[in-house]
Amino acid sequence: MKDWRYWLAEQRGTLLAFGIFIVMFAIYSANHPAGFTANVVQTAANKGVLLAFVAMAQTLVVITAGIDLSVGMIFTLTNCMASWLVIGTGLETAFGVLVVLGTGLLCGAVNGAIVIYGRLQPIVATIATGAVFFGLALLLRPVPGGSVNEDLADFLTGRFFGVVPASFVALLVIVLVVWVPFSRSEFGRAAYAAGSSETAAYMSGVPIRRGKFLAYTLAGLLAAIGGLFVTFFTYTGEAAYASGNAYTLFSIAAVVLGGVSLFGGKGSAIGAIFGALAFRTIGDLLFVFDFDPLWQPLFQGVILLIAVSLGAFALFRVRNRLEWFL
């Protein structure tokens, strides 16, 4: 086989998610009253990148064969925090951004420490920490409010050169600064190895613990970047329980749509980003087709089921039925 075929096989999940997104977005913009314009793209990007950041966060943890049910709450907590701190002069704003991102890192590190060194199951550990993070958010913002440095907010949610959505460029930068180095580092590989087969990884002398810890910590950071951006879009902070939980669950859906295996060891954050964008577009499709918004959850669910089924065809080829359970 040629090299490009292997590349294709490696990127299959990502490309599938990209394809689903393109098809949906094409249908969406073709039927949008305003058509495919910079404005439509900008709105879609601004909505899409929020879930994309959270989905990237989820990807890092899912790769290690774990799951992070607190990402939505880190997102909410950092939103509330940003609505207090990311304001004032340039220096004050910069300080605020750093504190918000640092908080995300800390939340992720706590999750990682509990799961790796405390040996608790990720699902329970992160439900608990998620509740704690939400509690802190509620203390910070008992009622919605606050404000944000609007110059920075408008800059990052606007357009560059009149056409390119700034939020999308920000997403790209984060991918280059966080995801690419991680996935190509020894620790990133350790995270994949631990997710795929922890015993084999241990026997091969892979730094499993440090790899997993880094994955959880960076997941906290990425969720915090999402929290920062939602503040830029809304200009306020709100400790909304339903919204935080929705982000957590949607991030899992986006990750699966993006070809990341919930069993660990396989997938890429790029795929999860397209999964997130595709998932958002599913919701938007309803508006352009003038469906009753009441139909949205049902419709989203059906489309999600169909998309996820595409990845399950391999099971028909299994010859030893015991492999169904592996």
Partner: protein, 514 residues
């Protein structure tokens, strides 16, 4: 290599697991530039010996010296540092990563803190070429490779660590004949480069072709050490056996009048694991499956039990062809089959659930009326079973995981006896349990056969096959190579046919597909 100073020496090494002595004052000397074969039966202590060398387990007593200096290894990584690399039987590859990723996994080349993928590719290609496996693409995912290719990757991975002593533990067991030939060339080249190789294999012909020196282990001790080629296969087999076994087996009833055939297979084949197997088991008969581990015995039992898809050939029950599509079909209705699985912890029991629940699982349909479990009937049947098998438990409502290994295995067997099966398949049921329980299982097996059950019994322990079976079929490479009957079931015949040495061992054949 005579006269060369030993590179590595082990003296007086002992290791106990619980009350079981795995090694007792064992010695081994390894010289550079030589291939040293280690022979012995299952459980003779070979695996423990190399695990100690490779830093996986620590010895209870004894010393190891490398280059004349005393050494001890706290972890596999420490042994690697010292230049001792082991290719274990259980593969240590990570399935979702590529071949190249796996080859460099313990020490990837880095550039600016990130993995240098070009350098990685180069190292992987070199290592694959050195292992004679350039046909494997470095970007292929390990999980997509067949077992024989994975084994080659494992060898390449070991070579990439630049070992001084390379240990191969049954490293050729999954390889095709063509691959074996390639690996042998590589090993001979490594020998000429001055590496010390330790080669563990059950295949006599491989050892004859490869080894310079042989050491035979038995019961945890090295019993003989001799230059390769100085002893006949017969003598070697004698050295490997050379032990008494106590009479813990129930008497066999002897040849019975022609009972009806209950279970029959005709030309059964599956993938490349089962090759045209025909056999029959009569009511009241215990038929053994012998051979080295992994020659298709497990797959054969799974095939009968409806787990494998895409079987060719026929399965007949009471002389009528049937198609069995699932374990449910196999165990229900007129087929009445039961499989005591190999790994009781994953395939036999739900460890956290209670003894009672575990006992009832396979027979829930029989214990229920209109979908509701009849507690009284359940209790009666469970009492019968606990009595019959003498299961020692503090109560029926404690987790089955709290029982001893032997009692856990009894629960697995009892759970199937609740259905009163007519056909019982046993997959190495006595692995890792104590002698007392073993003896009870042997007696139970004979009792069930006397009551009319047809029993197919796979065991890795030759004594068991000799002591329990009316007939033994020896498998090699997925095919039945030999049938031993009655007094013809001897340890010598079993070992010789398992190694695929024919007749009086004067003729050696390369495993069926040369």
């Amino acid at each position: 290599m005579d006269g060369a100073a030993p590179l590595f020496r082990m003296e007086g090494i002992s290791k106990r697991y619980g009350g079981v002595r795995a090694l007792e004052k064992a010695d081994l000397t390894v010289t550079a530039g030589g291939i040293h074969a280690i022979l012995g039966e299952n459980g003779a202590g070979k695996s423990t010996l190399i695990k100690i060398m490779a830093g996986v387990v620590a010895p209870d007593e004894g010393t190891m010296t490398l280059d004349g200096h005393e050494v001890s290894f706290a972890s596999p990584a420490a042994a690697n540092q010292a230049g001792i690399v082991c290719i274990f039987q259980e593969l240590s590859l990570i399935p979702e990563l590529s071949v190249a990723d796996n080859i460099v996994i313990s020490d990837p080349p880095k550039r600016f803190g990130m993995i240098d993928r070009k350098a990685q590719r180069r190292i992987a290609e070199e290592a694959l070429a050195r292992a004679g496996a350039s046909d494997i693409h470095p970007r292929a995912l390990v999980k997509d490779l067949p077992l024989s290719r994975r084994q080659m990757v494992e060898i390449a991975k070991a070579l990439a660590r630049k070992p001084r002593i390379l240990i191969l533990d049954e490293a050729t067991s999954a390889l095709t004949a063509a691959d074996v030939a390639k690996v042998f060339e590589v090993l001979k080249r490594l020998r000429s480069e001055g590496l010390a190789l330790l080669y563990i294999s059950h295949r006599m012909n491989e050892i004859a072709e490869l080894a310079d020196h042989c050491t035979v282990f038995r019961n945890g001790r090295n019993v003989a050490s001799y230059p390769a080629g100085s002893k006949s296969d017969n003598e070697v087999v004698e050295l490997m056996i050379g032990r008494e076994y106590s009479h813990i087996f129930p008497p066999k009833p002897g040849p019975t009048a022609a009972a009806t055939t209950v279970l029959e297979a005709r030309n059964l084949s599956w993938a490349d694991r089962l090759d045209n197997i025909s056999l029959s088991v009569r009511a009241g008969e215990v038929v053994g499956l012998g051979g080295l581990d992994g020659q298709g015995q497990r797959e054969l039992l799974l095939a009968f039990f409806g787990v494998l898809r895409g079987l060719s050939g026929e399965i007949l029950i009471d002389g009528k062809p049937v198609s069995i599509a699932s374990p449910t079909e196999a165990s229900h209705g007129r087929i009445g089959m039961a499989l005591i699985p190999e790994d009781r912890k994953t395939e036999g029991l739900m460890l956290p659930m209670t003894v009672r629940e575990n006992l009832s699982f396979a027979a829930l349909d029989r214990l229920s009326k209109a979908g509701i479990i009849d507690r009284v009937a359940e209790q009666r049947l469970i009492d019968d079973m606990v009595g019959l098998l003498a299961i020692k438990t503090a109560g029926l409502d404690i987790p089955v995981g709290a029982l001893s290994g032997g009692n856990q295995q009894k629960v697995v067997i009892a759970k199937w006896l609740m259905r009163q099966p007519r056909i019982i398949l046993l997959n190495d049921p006595t692995r890792g349990i104590d002698v007392g329980t073993k003896q009870e299982i042997y007696q139970l097996m004979r009792k069930l056969a006397d009551a009319g059950a047809a029993i197919l019994f796979y065991s890795t322990d030759y004594d068991e096959l000799i002591g329990c079976c009316d007939r033994v079929l020896v498998l090699y490479d997925g095919a039945v190579k030999r049938e031993l009957v009655g007094d013809g079931i001897t340890e010598h015949a079993l070992i010789a046919s398992a190694l695929n040495i024919h007749g009086d061992a004067s003729r050696i054949e390369l495993g069926g597909k040369a």
